[in-house]
Amino acid sequence: MENIGSNSILNSPKYKAVAYGMLFIVCLLLPKIITNMYYLGIINYIILYTILCMGLNLILGYAGLLSFGHAAFYGLGGYTTAILIKRYGFSFLPCPLLSGVVALLFGILLGLPTRKVRGDYFCLLTIAFGEIFRLVAQAWIGFTNGAMGIVGIPIPSILGWSIRTEADFYYLGLILLAFTYITISLLIHSRFGRAFIAIREDELAASVMGINTAIYKIIVFAIGCFYAGLAGSYLAVYQTTVTPSNFRLEESCLMIIMVIVGGMGSLLAPVAGGIVMTLATEYFRSISEYRMLIIGVIMVAVLLYRPQGIFGTSAFKD
């Protein structure tokens, strides 16, 4: 399968192997280069948001389903890990997976209405789900400790590796990110990935191609939510607290903006979106609530001058 431009050095497998190798080494050594805890902390948040956005990109970028409920699945993962560790004395090791599975199951539940509810109405449904989740987390004091949230989640350790410093969390994040990237890449480069794209492009035509669009929409939504749960689990141990205010609608909006800015429907685009938007929110932290204004400006600028996003392939509702 020779593509156009295959003569360029960039596409030769040797070059790719070297490039990936270098990237891998840089990623491994990063905490040795950047020793400032504050900067490393920002990088950890970038990793966290990149995982979230990769999941959302599956839903929004590949399958074209607009979900404003991603923060709720993120929260489900966070609370699952927090409650499992604090209340039931679980070790950290199974928690990311279990948190992902909880988010996945709720994703299936919320994905079920996609059979009947389409487009904007589905979007409204996801907003409702996000709000319901947050209100339940706030009100169910016996289980979630209400608005105070669950605090004092102990330092996680995996097989004797105690994760306490920023650098440790960096490596934990990197492992989760690599897992996310590899699994999503496998999915996208199979008939499933193509089916999701077909649904985004033209649902009716997709069904005539033999794609069971109802099932595939549930699959993509649930799998996207799985990664949100994974990220939530990371947040819980990294922040050592989870509160309902971590998972507000604004968080969902921020993730959507990241995906749009990075570029929808491209595997690496969420990385770009995550980096740009996390740095922007950090940089403008001093002006507190006004920073959402600046984030809005960035998004409008991207939509005006590069509607497909930094790396994206498909323009938003072209």
């Binding site: 496998l186 199979s190 499933f192 077909a198 033209d202 035509a205 069904s207 033999g210 699959i219 072209d318």
Partner: protein, 255 residues
């Protein structure tokens, strides 16, 4: 031996009867044309057959199996592919990816295969690409495989849509006005291509307004008028049929 039998198909939309008692058969290896004035129910017939609607009454028997009212994706799996009257290629992905989506129902990768048996999945994908390329070569589109579908010229997009439908090796191909918007040269190419498909063993059912095209392609014509089957015969019979002329042009008395 008949591949498809439609028995007294009726479709009502509320009080409107779009199709009324349409019965027809399509034999293996044929090219059957369906003509009729606007609003006579041709597209509705295809939509019922391909599972986008369920008929109100009647039965579709395909390969000795009742497929009436099955969902579209199941019907595609049974070997009926179609194209659309208003072009429906997937615009923002490449030509090759379009074709690969057409192969969806012939790839049996499960989610388990995706994650746990990824080497097998990769092999399957490789075979799928090979298969897609042979179809692109057949239609002389292989040079454009890496181009976004929306950037193809219009006539080629039409061709791509047909390729996407035939890559899954269907028994029956439904074409809904395939040469709408084409120029005469593109039309002749398309006619040749459809005849080529026939030699590959695909049965073709084609709706078309363009008489020159349908006369050159179809071996048998079915005329639909006001939702009912009006006439059936060879192209020359239909061409010389006074009643058919009347529904298209009006009676002599009307003038």
């Amino acid at each position: 031996m008949s591949l498809l039998t439609a028995k007294t198909i009726q479709k009502k939309f509320g009080g409107v009867i779009a199709l009324n008692d349409v019965s027809l058969t399509v034999d293996k290896g044929e090219i059957v044309g369906m003509i009729g004035p606007n609003g006579s129910g041709k597209t509705t017939f295809i939509n019922n057959l391909s599972g986008l609607y369920a008929p109100t009454k009647g039965q579709f028997i395909f390969n000795d199996e009742d497929i009436t009212g099955l969902p579209a994706h199941v019907i595609t799996g049974k070997g009926i592919s179609r194209t659309f009257q208003n072009l429906r290629v997937f615009p923002n992905i490449t030509v090759l990816e379009n074709i690969l989506i057409g192969l969806h129902c012939r790839i049996d990768t499960s989610l388990w295969d995706v994650y746990a048996r990824f080497l097998k999945t990769r092999r399957v994908e490789h075979q799928a690409k090979k298969k897609a390329m042979t179809v692109l070569e057949l239609a002389e589109l292989s040079d454009s495989q890496g181009i976004l579908a929306k950037n193809l010229p219009y006539g080629k997009q039409r061709l791509l849509e047909i390729c996407r439908a035939i890559v899954s090796d269907p028994y029956l191909l439904l074409l809904d006005e395939p040469c709408a918007g084409m120029n005469p040269v593109e039309m002749d190419d398309l006619a040749d291509f459809i005849k080529l498909l026939q030699t590959k063993g695909i049965t073709v059912f084609v709706i078309e307004h363009n008489m020159r095209f349908i006369m050159s392609v179809a071996q048998r014509l079915i005329v639909l008028a006001n939702g009912s089957k009006f006439q059936e015969g060879t192209p020359t019979q239909i061409q010389n049929d006074k009643d058919v002329q009347a529904i298209y042009l009006g009676d002599e008395g009307d003038l």
